[in-house]
Amino acid sequence: MFGAGGGTSSYREVEEAEFVLLWGSNAREAHPIYFHHVLKGIKAGSKMYAVDPRRTASAKFAESWLGIDVGTDIALANAVAREIISADMHNKEFIDRATSGFESFAAHVESYTLEYASEATGVPPEAIKDLARSYAEASTAQILWTLGITEHHNGVDNVLSLCNLALLTGHVGRWGSGLVPLRGQNNVQGGGDMGALPNKLPGFQDLTSVESFQKFSASYGVDLNPLPGLHLTQMFEAMDEGAIKTLYVIGENPADSEADVGHTRKLLSELDFLVVQDIFLTRTAELADVVLPATVGWAEAEGTVTSSERRVQRVRPAVQGPVGARDDHLIIGDLAKRLGAKWLAESAEELWDEVRSLSPMHAGMTYERLEKLDGIQWPCPDITHPGTPFLHDWLWQEDLNGNPRAPFSVTNHEGPKEQLSDDFPIRLTTGRALDSYNTGVQSRGYNSPIRSGDRLQISEADASSLDLIQGERVRVSSPRGSVEMEIGISHDQPRGLAFTTFHFPELVDLNLLTNDEWDPKSGTAEFKAASIKIEKLTAGVSHA
């Protein structure tokens, strides 16, 4: 945000913040050790509020839980902003010095009254008012979010709406105050840092900037392709149109993980040539023409990963991989050489030093320093720099240190793309369970005593009106497909909302149901909001 693709704050800050707002994140289950830092703060007296459609394991630790209707986050955020402004609790000095667009933002949120927002979100007006005041009056405050914010057709606008709140109150750019997107996968931050984005080079340098383009081209001795690439969702559209015929998939299992997965599988199987590089023969690998077996990054190979606090950390081989499996970078290097590229790095450290020579934010992170300092938070421009615990302190400097002002964003409440209908009257949202992970490729390897499988969690009220009991198998259908699942009845589930995880595609092919409507700004599909119906299976059902 404000020019850098990473969370602003260190984990330790959440222990010291006076107010913590967990929005669309069940960190207790999805980021348990981060949540330890939150709990430390609560124990020491900080207040935590949770915004989530479900009363999650995290929300149970909250002083106030705002049970929002799925996909109405912008209405809530804008109403919080309006409330802060009308109570005259916004930080005028900060807004004047460091931001732009406040006047039009304030005029825009004027229509988001407590009454309107309460109607749109299902959150009582007093709870919205209380959230606004508690956030604004805290001396330090953090907003934390995960996929409950981003996996919507307007995920980027959701994020911008939360950034508005931080700009309004000055809760960013200071120790204890910040904006923290928790990363779902162990190196999703590092992937972005290394330029695995369609329009970025390593270190978030712009592909379209002449200076960085020339620097990289000179270093590699070849003119790079200056055109931005496609993000994942666009790639599948290009496959659909026949514009992509060959695909090289590394460590990803789209044949299980994509929304509207039936369509994805069809596209993958229609490719002329599919290469999959993975540690297992995944469902995607089964469709491949060539499978390249890889070692396990964190346990069998040397390298680095970057965490949600921008900390670059080293991974090291603890065991030797199976015969025939090779480190990812060696496979890619050999492939590059076969294609005629100059590829000098032989070791992971040499590759890393190449990153350091091209990406200024990583320049000071030698392997030796990474080891000695237990990881370093970017940016770290030289080998005497200690790393950066929090970003954007320039927002508090008189001249903004030469940076442009941080802009307010105007965002509009729309709600989910897929509206509920008479045919599909129940909202389906998805998320993680504590002991499992993504499509289960890794987590099904251990025998967890707390694993319950994919049940469709519904409220007691819905169960009773549909005449369903705990454990009953039902048919669940969305406009895209249909699966059979077991019902779980939960006190924590509001009426009209069904929830399930997506960890067991071998048991329940859940992504046959989810919606692949996606955000044109991020390419992320709306996993969090599909419409479904739940039907009893025909006679002879055993009530287990």
């Binding site: 984990y11 348990p32 990963v305 090291r316 390897g445």
Partner: protein, 288 residues
Amino acid sequence: MTVTRSTEVTFSLNGQQTTVAAGTTILEAAQETGVEIPTLCWASNLTPVNACRLCVVEMEGSRALVPACSRECEPNAVINTDSERVALSRKMVLEFLDTTNDLTQSSELQTLIELYGADASRYSDPVRSEDPVKVEDDLFVRAYDRCVLCYKCVEACGDDAQFTFAISMAGRGFETRVSTEFETPLPESACVYCGNCVGVCPTNALQFKAEFDLRQTPDWDPESQTSTDTICSYCGVGCTLEVHTQDNEIFKVTSPSDHSVTAGHLCVKGRFGWQYVQPPTRRPPTNH
């Protein structure tokens, strides 16, 4: 008149004038100055509970020995960490534990037993804790005949780390045990299998099932074992894992207690979710 509170405390530690910040415990002061005091129930990532009395030291003017782990340094105090009285007390604490529990899998306690010349055989017919090992799942086992009731597991499960509160002390006197609610088997209890109790256990009463199984075989060989620091492969928090291996297989995962991300604590995926790396799930491709 203004009363000012001193921010520093000066006292005598083994005859040396020592100055520390107010609020520093005797143990912390000793650690800062390189004086060794043995501990058992204390850990840097847990609140002191004063359960084991192994860290006691002599403070002039105090009738009883004082626990270094929780007693704050006082101005002008005269503290001796290594007197005859202290040594005798520690020796007897170790002997009482050794008469009751199986301490053979705690190398730290074995070292202290030797250091203080503790001799459990001085006591005739001691009553020993004889609990059968509880094996209720594939992740970790509970061998309470090794349990010295140090409270570390209870604290790690409670508000020192995990906030799950699945276990507590139950029973009285010699019958005191760490227990789930109503002694419910672990898989049916409130336990979420973070294993943070296993991580802090000083006597191996709580141990990984994989380690437990390996110890049952003749192959168990501490000499050939290695520990490697790496980062967890699951969510994006970036927890440091210490991966313990023998014969190219992982049998245990821990985290360093002084790490800024984890403070030594992990979740169920990080601590136990490494099985997928091992054979036979990942055989070499046959068409190689």
